[in-house]
């Protein structure tokens, strides 16, 4: 009892401190809950009661909010959190089996998600935005890419050993600098970091310190070639840059010494590079040995970069994200100055309107018109919100832009604020993107110090303040009105429009909400004029579009292409075609709101209208390439299970309708479907599209409707009890062929005891016991395990 009251007073003390920093208003509820969870790793009920006691937040409000957002936990968790990404790219590469493997490894039963000793808690997460490393697992801040079910034990052991090591201090860079001999660039996007670029950077700094080599280390944002990371680029005056892909920390010293020593070494190395270049890029599988690449004509690298055009991603791979000087040297803030000192707000709006820019968040509403509408509102207080709540599983453009070009987006927001007469800006950034939050926060501090934000910006009469709001895990908050609800401290539920946010938005004030990518191209349009933008693209879709290219292509990554580029060019040229000698089947564009287009439609251009007519959608730019091993019924089920899970639960058609659609799909996927089920599914899909209240529900049936449109035969096959792609685990069985050499690897690794241990004999899989985890097939050295 005594301990209980001591505990309570400790909680009261902690909550008091949090509230003191976050405020007592109803709209402080999400930041307060985030801080409480940060401290306790979950939300103790006593803490929530204390919040209600000392703030204007009510028990009903805090209950509603805390249970709405998926990042909040209500039960004590283990010391470390394992988050298995279930994004599209991860799904098609087997994240479901990885998740099951963790459950087995951790001996979880029933609905448990924390192991018996309380070390690890297992969670599924919508998308970590590292799609090119799929399947991805993140344990606390450490990311593991290309995870296989058979490796999960090693991963847990590796993580625990890292934790043990973490007390070691990393080496510091030191010594006098002297004459700079060259520059070493290292990518620090999430993908790079996930694949170990920070370790590479540490090793690099240690090497330079120990050898007194005077090379400048520049941390740059995402280079875009995400499936080759970590990448080290060595730039020396008068020499072509040398790229090192998939570099490992232990290789760093050798590479540095080779470049910054007598040239004989360098030549030797360069010859070697040229010889193995093609082999390296020609194979999309993760490398088992070092591979290097350099700039040459007509290599896969030039094919990757060739059709691309960088506007939002201007200076890709050259800028250190939070280096304001580098940003200035590349033309940064010129547009802001031009707008503030040489243009009226109407001229700015006209420029944007004439550029033909349309919102990059999905729907494609003309940006200039939206700005105009906000400008026309007489209110003295207006808001600009950067919508960085990128939630599509399989999309990571916003993350990459926020992480790599924070100043560009800030500049875009400032120009938007100037044009619309707003004075307050908010970055709404998804909870799963901590690095983006860190970068923007750092960039904002720098801007404030430099007089680029705040009062009288650049000594003009324009004042604008920017803050960050971290999302709490709800896909639907990408919808403008739901996003506003969330900032105001409510459940992120879409509201009826009209009134539109441009007229009555955040705190009932006129509010401009633009997608991150939209804001990222603003400065370029102002700097070079509307024509520079409108001359690119198609009749209805101007400029460029950033895509997260992932799935079964050889070279996935973050790409930016002119509107009008065909799907074929993206998949076959930029992506280098399909990996692993499989055939190109379809491309999923626009995530859960988008659709699945078959390979025969790959002549279609990237264009808002063309994609809509085909049943897909530009969406926010996720592009997942599928091969002949992907099942379209499974894919429709996957997307629908995502939207169904993300439904806010307000309107009948979305809340219940998507659930019933999923029930039908599950039945079909399980081989239990009937013709009536297929008819019901299609009718219900049309009803959900017609009857849902917001965009999430209205577009949720798209993946089902497009796969029905283009791949109906696959549904029909499932009705007959066949999955043509061999993906639907309820319909497939594993078998061992005569090629089996009796090595027993499969029997040793089988987690369910379905394979008897019989050295030098052909093994046999007991279908009754088999859980379709796929490990036997992966470990078999002679491909003797097959799917039936």
């Amino acid at each position: 009892m005594k301990q209980d009251s001591a505990n309570r007073s400790a909680i009261a003390h902690k909550v008091g401190a949090i509230v003191a920093s976050r405020g007592t208003g109803r709209d402080a509820v999400i930041p307060i809950l985030q801080d409480i969870q940060q401290h306790y790793h979950y939300l103790p009920e006593e803490a929530l009661e204390e919040v209600c006691r000392i703030t204007a937040i009510t028990p009903a409000q805090i209950t509603g909010v805390a249970t709405y957002y998926s990042s909040f936990r209500h039960e004590p968790a283990g010391k470390h959190t394992i988050r298995v990404c279930t994004g599209t790219a991860c799904h098609v590469k087997g994240s479901g089996q990885v998740y099951e493997a963790f459950r087995r490894e951790m001996k979880l039963e029933g609905t448990d998600n924390t192991d018996a000793v309380g070390i690890f808690t297992l969670e599924e997460v919508a998308c970590l935005g590292c799609c090119t490393l799929a399947p991805v697992v993140k344990i606390d801040e450490v990311t593991y890419g290309h995870v296989k079910p058979e490796n999960v034990g090693d991963i847990l052991r590796d993580f625990l050993s890292r934790v043990k090591r973490s007390s070691d201090q990393p080496a510091k860079t030191g010594g006098n600098r002297g004459i700079i001999q060259g520059e070493i660039r290292i990518g620090l996007g999430s993908c790079c970091m996930a694949s170990g670029s920070s370790e590479v950077k540490e090793e690099l700094e240690r090497t330079l310190a120990e050898t007194s080599i005077h090379a400048e280390v520049r941390q740059v944002g995402c280079v875009g070639i995400c499936n080759q990371v970590p990448i080290l680029e060595i730039v020396k005056p008068g020499e072509p840059s040398a790229f090192y892909a998939h570099i490992r920390p232990e290789e760093v010293r050798q590479v540095v010494l080779n470049h910054f020593r007598p040239t004989t070494f360098h030549h030797r190395l360069k010859n070697r590079i040229d010889g193995i270049l093609d082999e390296m890029l020609g194979n999309g599988a993760p490398p088992s040995f070092r591979r290097y690449l350099t700039e040459q004509r007509d290599t896969p690298l030039t094919r990757f970069l060739g059709p691309q055009l960088s506007i939002a991603t201007e200076c890709r791979g050259e800028l250190k994200p939070c280096d304001i000087e580098a940003y200035r040297q590349s033309g940064g803030f010129e547009a802001l100055e031009k707008a503030l000192f040489h243009m009226t707000s109407y001229e700015v709006i006209n420029e944007i309107r004439n550029s033909g820019l349309r919102g990059r968040g999905g729907a494609g509403f003309p940006t200039g018109i939206k700005w105009q509408l906000v400008k026309e509102q007489p209110s003295p207080l207006k808001y600009v919100i950067c919508n960085g709540d990128e939630g599509d599983p399989g999309a990571f453009m916003d993350r990459m832009l926020l992480e790599s070009y924070p100043f560009r987006i800030i500049e875009g927001m400032l120009i938007a604020g100037y044009a619309t007469g707003a004075s307050q800006g908010i970055f709404y950034i998804r909870a799963e993107y901590p690095l983006a939050v860190t970068r923007i926060r750092e960039a904002l501090q720098i801007c404030e110090r430099e007089g680029i934000t705040g009062h009288n910006i650049l000594s003009s009469s324009f004042s604008f303040n920017i803050r960050i709001f971290e999302g709490a895990g709800a896909f639907v908050c990408g919808e403008e009105t739901a996003l506003i609800s969330s900032i105001e401290g409510r459940r992120g539920i879409p509201a009826l429009r009209p009134p539109y946010p441009a007229v009555e938005g955040l705190y009932h004030k006129p509010t401009l909400i633009n997608n991150t990518e939209t804001l990222a191209v603003i400065s370029r349009i102002i700097r070079y004029g509307a024509d520079s933008f409108s001359s690119i693209g198609t009749t209805g879709s101007k400029g460029t579009k950033v895509f997260a290219l992932a799935g079964k292509v050889k070279h996935g990554g973050l790409i930016e292409v002119p509107m009008g580029t065909t799907i074929h060019q993206i998949v076959m040229e930029i992506g280098g075609g399909i990996a692993g000698n499989r055939s190109f089947k379809a491309v999923q564009i626009g995530g859960p709101s988008g659709g699945c287009l078959p390979a025969v439609l790959s002549h279609l251009p990237i264009d808002y209208e063309a994609l809509s007519e085909a049943g897909a959608m530009m969406g926010s730019g996720g592009m997942v390439v599928l091969d002949d091993t992907d099942c379209m019924v499974d894919l429709a089920w996957y997307f629908l299970s995502f939207t169904q899970d993300q439904s806010c639960g307000q309107c009948t058609f979305c809340r219940v309708g998507t659930r019933r659609m999923l029930d039908l799909l599950e039945k079909i996927r399980g081989g239990q479907g009937t013709n009536d089920d297929l008819v019901n599914l299609e009718n219900l899909a049309l009803a959900v599209r017609k009857g849902s209240f917001c965009g999430l529900g209205k577009t949720a049936p798209n993946p089902v409707l497009t796969t029905l449109r283009y791949f109906r035969h696959e549904y029909e096959a499932h009705l007959r009890g066949e999955c043509p792609a061999g993906k639907c685990s309820l319909m497939i069985t594993y078998a061992v062929t005569e090629n089996c050499i009796g090595c027993t690897k499969c029997a040793q690794r089988c987690p369910s005891g379905a394979i008897a241990f019989k050295p030098y004999e052909i093994h046999h899989i007991d279908t009754e016991k088999c859980t379709r985890c796929d490990i036997c097939r992966q470990v078999c050295p002679v491909q003797a395990v097959i799917l039936k």
């Binding site: 009920e45 929530l48 009661e49 009510t58 028990p59 009903a60 409000q61 805090i62 209950t63 509603g64 249970t67 709405y68 957002y69 998926s70 709800a474 459940r491 539920i493 509201a495 009826l496 009209p498 169904q644 899970d645 993300q646 439904s647 806010c648 639960g649 307000q650 309107c651 009948t652 058609f653 809340r655 219940v656 309708g657 998507t658 659930r659 019933r660 029930d663 599950e666 039945k667 019901n680 219900l684 009803a687 017609k690 009857g691 209240f693």
Partner: protein, 529 residues
């Protein structure tokens, strides 16, 4: 601003919702989640209307009228859309409208209400409740095979409530007729001939007399009772019992013409001419006789409309074994009442009525966990066997204890539930979209006034709004998101803490039976609204 609603031009001020605009045009739009004076998110989508100009469906309860809009509120598309919305809601609505016993009873007797009256020792009111649907409760309590008891949810886990014997305890007190007056309407001045004095004919007569119609019963036998007297074993149904209950009907003013065979001539020359309506309830007869009466037949007997028991001759109705052989007596009793109601409707309006079958939500069998949840405030004891034998039946004390076993499975808002009402109006089928596994039923009875059944909730959130508006310290809250969202109490508070002031307002506003008053029809209604 001006807009048209169903082609009617209306002028409204800015900010008027489409539903309000429609009501100015005299058009009512159905809605579940809408409550005047509350601002919340539209959710049920039953109030959908069509904006024909932009080809889109809008929630009329909150969408503001715009200049020049052309709105349709009723069309085949909207009817289909609303039905679909209702079917989706019903696929996630776990509860029975009527209790399974009541649904199983051919007479659709309100068994839970009878049980509640008995449990409170109010036998007179219990009998009145029984007689609303069953004219011969005493007789049936001896011979009814009691389909109600086979359907009883309690029977799934332990033993069904002894419904049939409880019914006897309402009609008989210590072996004597319970002296309860039967209220009779003022004389209508019209008279009806009922041919046959078996269960169907007696039942028809009972409800005709009760409604103020003179009633003449014709029977070829010298004693009334039809099959009850001639085909039921005496040891099963004592003669005394039969005579007692026929006596009730005689006392109500029935005129018996016993030993009078109604032949072709009598039917046409006397019955059809001298009476305002004729109800045929002779039991199974030869087809030739029916044809002589000029009536259509089918393989079962006389062909009638099952909606109103009318024959092809206006004003002539038929029921009982005459339309289908070897029916349960209770079914004949039910048909007798239905034929009487149709005849009354015919005499009042000159038309033959259609029938109205109310919608019924059902959930199937109760699981063991749910049984304990459902038991709620009911008695946990096992089924009571009458100490003086089945033929004698329960003592009043035994009846009271047995009736307390009833779990009140029926919805507490059978008439005011909007989901049920619109489901009936729009012809919704609950099983169109069915859940692979239905949700587990919960029933929270902790609050003094209110019963909360979360699985009946449609998540409209009206109660959340009301409890906030009334300044409840805890109130009700949404919990979770998407399909799994529920309305709960914050911080695991008991419902009594959450609803200290707003309970009655929430019950009143709840569009379904999720939040309902504990006091049931039949109990002391002092807390009723």
């Amino acid at each position: 601003m001006k807009l048209t609603i169903d082609h009617i031009t209306v002028t409204v001020s800015e900010g008027t919702t489409l539903m309000e605009a429609a009501s100015l045009a005299g058009i009512a739009i159905p809605a579940l989640c809408h409550l005047e004076g509350l601002k919340h998110h539209p959710s049920c989508m039953v109030c959908a209307v069509k904006d024909t100009g932009r080809d889109r469906i809008l929630p009329s309860c909150s969408y503001p009228a715009e200049e020049g809009m052309q709105i349709l509120t009723h069309s085949p598309e909207l009817r289909e859309f609303r039905r679909e919305a209702l079917e989706l809601l019903l696929s996630d609505h776990v509860g029975d409208c009527d209790a399974p016993c009541q649904r199983a009873c051919p007479a659709h007797m309100d068994i839970p209400a009878m049980n509640r009256f008995i449990a409170e020792g109010r036998f007179d009111e219990a009998l009145q409740k029984v007689r609303e649907t069953i004219a011969l409760p005493l007789i049936l309590s001896y011979i009814c095979p009691a389909p109600c008891e086979k359907a009883c949810h309690r029977g799934t886990i332990d033993q069904a409530v002894s419904i049939c014997l409880l019914k006897r305890s309402t009609a008989h007190k210590e072996g004597q007729l319970r002296p309860v007056a039967i209220p009779v309407d003022p004389p209508s001045g019209k008279k009806v001939a009922v041919v046959g004095s078996g269960p169907a004919g007696l039942s028809a007569a009972f409800y005709l007399l009760k409604a103020g119609y003179q009633c003449h019963l014709f029977d070829q036998h010298s004693l009334a009772g039809g099959m009850l007297r001639h085909h039921v074993l005496r040891e099963k149904l004592p003669v005394k019992v039969l005579d007692e209950e026929i006596g009730v009907i005689r006392e109500m003013g029935a005129v018996f013409h016993l030993g009078e065979m109604v032949d072709k001539t009598a039917f046409h020359e006397r019955l059809c001419r001298d009476f305002d309506a004729v109800i045929l309830a002779t039991g199974a007869v030869e087809e030739q006789i029916l044809r002589d009466f000029g009536l259509e037949t089918d393989e079962h007997g006389i062909k009638v409309s099952l909606a109103n028991f009318g024959t092809k001759t206006p004003g002539v109705f038929a029921c009982g074994n005459m339309i289908r052989k070897r029916q349960m007596a209770v079914r004949s009793v039910a048909q007798g009442k239905a034929a009487a109601i149709s005849a009354i409707h015919f005499m009042r309006t000159g038309k033959t009525a259609g029938s109205h079958h109310p919608f019924n939500s059902t959930f199937g069998r109760l699981t063991k966990e749910e049984f304990y949840e459902y038991l709620g405030e009911s008695s946990e004891i096992l089924r009571i066997e009458p100490s003086r034998g089945v033929l004698t039946g329960f003592s009043e004390a035994e009846a009271i204890r047995e009736a307390a076993r009833c779990m009140d499975c029926n919805c507490r808002k059978p008439l005011s539930c909007k989901l049920r009402r619109y489901a009936g109006e729009y012809g919704a089928h609950q099983k169109h979209y069915s859940a692979p596994v239905r949700n587990q039923i919960k029933r929270i009875v902790q609050h003094e006034l209110v019963v909360y059944e979360p699985e009946k909730c449609i998540r409209c959130g009206i109660c959340v709004e009301i409890s906030a508006r009334e300044g409840e310290p805890f109130g009700l809250a949404y919990s979770g998101r998407g399909f799994s969202v529920r309305i709960t109490t914050p911080f695991h508070q008991p419902l009594s803490q959450s609803l200290q002031k707003a309970a009655l307002a929430c019950v009143d506003a709840c569009p379904t039976g999720a939040l309902a008053l504990k006091t049931l029809p039949g109990k002391n209604d002092k807390n009723a609204l």
